[in-house]
Amino acid sequence: MNENDKIDPANSAISVSCRVPLLALFGGAALWLVIGLALVMLASLNFHMPGMFSDHGWMTYGRMLAAGNDAILYGFAIPTALGVMLWILASLSDSELALPLVPVLAANVWHLGVLVGIAAIFMGDSTGFQWLEFPRGGSVLLFAAYMLMGISAMATFGARRKRALQPAHWFLLAALFWFPWIYTSANVFLVAWPVRGVGQAVIDWWFSNNLIFVWLTLVGLGTVFYYVPKFAGRPLHNQPLALFGFVTFILISTWCGIPQGAPVPAWFPAASTTASILLIVPVLSLLAVFVKTVCGVQTQCKGGPFCYMKFGTTAFIVSALMLIPLGCPRFGVLAQFTEYAQAQSYMQILGFFSIVICGAVYELMPRVMGMDWPFQKFVRFQHWLFMGGLAILVISLAIGGVEQEMNNYNFTSGVIFMKFATLGFLLLLLGSLLFAANIFVMTLKWKLGLAKAFIAVIKRPLDASEVKS
């Protein structure tokens, strides 16, 4: 008997309270992941088939790439992050999700906001700032949805029975707090009351770094440090080191992100370089904690969530190691305007974060829904597709980037790398289709189950005592 069919009764109230919010978040997120990867893949076609999309403004490369990137980040990454955060906070609190209807409303508002934002990008109304392309309509909806979600999360955290905090708490609570601050600052200083001149670019770089590198890492590592001890069957190795890694990470990584040759006074890139040098400390600390926790564990992961966590954390280390040279003056100046920088972003978002969070979703949803995944094999297939697609994508973009700058930014010879990148995106897209299939069919089965239960209640034979004589 599949041991996951046996749901721990103590969790069932927590699971039930999380069901609808998580389905609302993950269902929309799965759809946005498919759409986003499809858009980015189509955008990458521009480089080896330039004339394909030239006759209509909405299909131009800049709009498709921006829409695709934002669909992946805001449509998939952040909602799944929030869903997993809510679940982990509820589990760690050992209490039901507080105010369970609020996240359901928030999830719908969030996905509406993403839809409004993506539509605006296609119509040409993007703000012009990278990773912040949604204009006012979309961003206000996203902010409102996040605040609602945050209320429920904080209430769940506040209701915890065990007062002691776990490492996952540090990361997730910091993340919960981080997003509204950076999102508000970016929108206020760039869109609502914009600063004059190139200060706009600095604030946009700060926001991008804090969202993509810092925030996604906080949620991702929080998830990893919650699940990996469970999978490995032993506690997190050296909690003080994990705490040190956490504190140094949030102090240092927030200062990365200013490109080295930027048209700003020298202290901005110099601060980023110093931060990149120091970033080695938290990366090594967190790596040491992870490796010592996982090393020597006999459990086979077989393409399941544990594999996702291991691969995702490895991808994080690679992403951080790719970010550090971008902060070094010599290499950074050469590589910052090449596809190498894009490769690092994709490694972070698609490699580290998406894989870790998909692993978490694959692990927690059977518990939440009380049923197994409809397509068990897809979990393993997606794992291999993501691993292969990511490797092809990141390696081809990284090498293409280095080759591009060695070639004086003459892009003609680099087209072969873009073809491989398209292949990488295609594999990722196929993997995301498997993920979406699992989520949708699970949702359908659950709804069918509800419908069946409802019909059974209606059709049940009446008791003699209920019939009026």
Binding site: G197, I250, F411
Partner: protein
Amino acid sequence: MNSGCRIFLVSFVALGLSWGGFVIAPAIQLGTQKQTAVLNSSLTYPEQRPGEATMGLQVYRRSGCAACHTTQLQQDGVECEVIVTGMGKTPVAVSNLLSSLNLTGLSKDDAQSASDQITAKGGKTEIHIVPTGGDIARGWGSRRSVSEDFLWDYPVQLGSVRMGPDLADVGSRLGSYSWQLLHLYAPQATTKDSTMPPFRYLFVVQKVGDVPSPDALQLPAEFAPPSGYEVVPTMAAEKLAAYLLSLHANVPLHDAPFTAAAPPEPTKAKK
């Protein structure tokens, strides 16, 4: 850490520090910047772009040009050149000295000492400041981009990837209106093997009226429309071309000095 409050405090300090450094500090230091003076001239910089060019910046944003082009030039270093402007009363002595001196690629101190040696023999010299770097070697500009270059722009479209060349000084090196329009309609016509997608949606293919339109593009055979038709730019294309022609970064400033080849003149957008 055993309490939510402590996590909040630590996060607050960490995020607050970088917010102060990378949001508030640039808002103050860069956001209150004023126009500056062009070196050795009484011109102010930057002049505001003419109206069409300012609207062209919005077309640039909407078309997503920043996804492939940057408008920020980089500079890796600076060096000095000694130019001899007069041989003085003892030209033989000066030319003997010159054959033993290196006059290019010098630091300021070396250039000053070389210059002093020459003037001691009666010659007249000028020391020229020359920025160096990959972008300058590629001919994309004569100096690095600095914050004054973007003073009037909203949104600042610095770009983050160079799938195509940098555009910070494109108005100086590709300053032909018709070339820009042609390049937008059919990049492969102006640049062989270009991977830039054609921006045909910024143009209209229309039937030639009684007289051909004066705005019609002169296209090579493989890109030309069928006979009896002409390609005419939309207003968006004209504004975008005007914006591209207004992109200049070729005057010396205090924070990006170099010796200008000719005395600086007010930059004009050519049509």
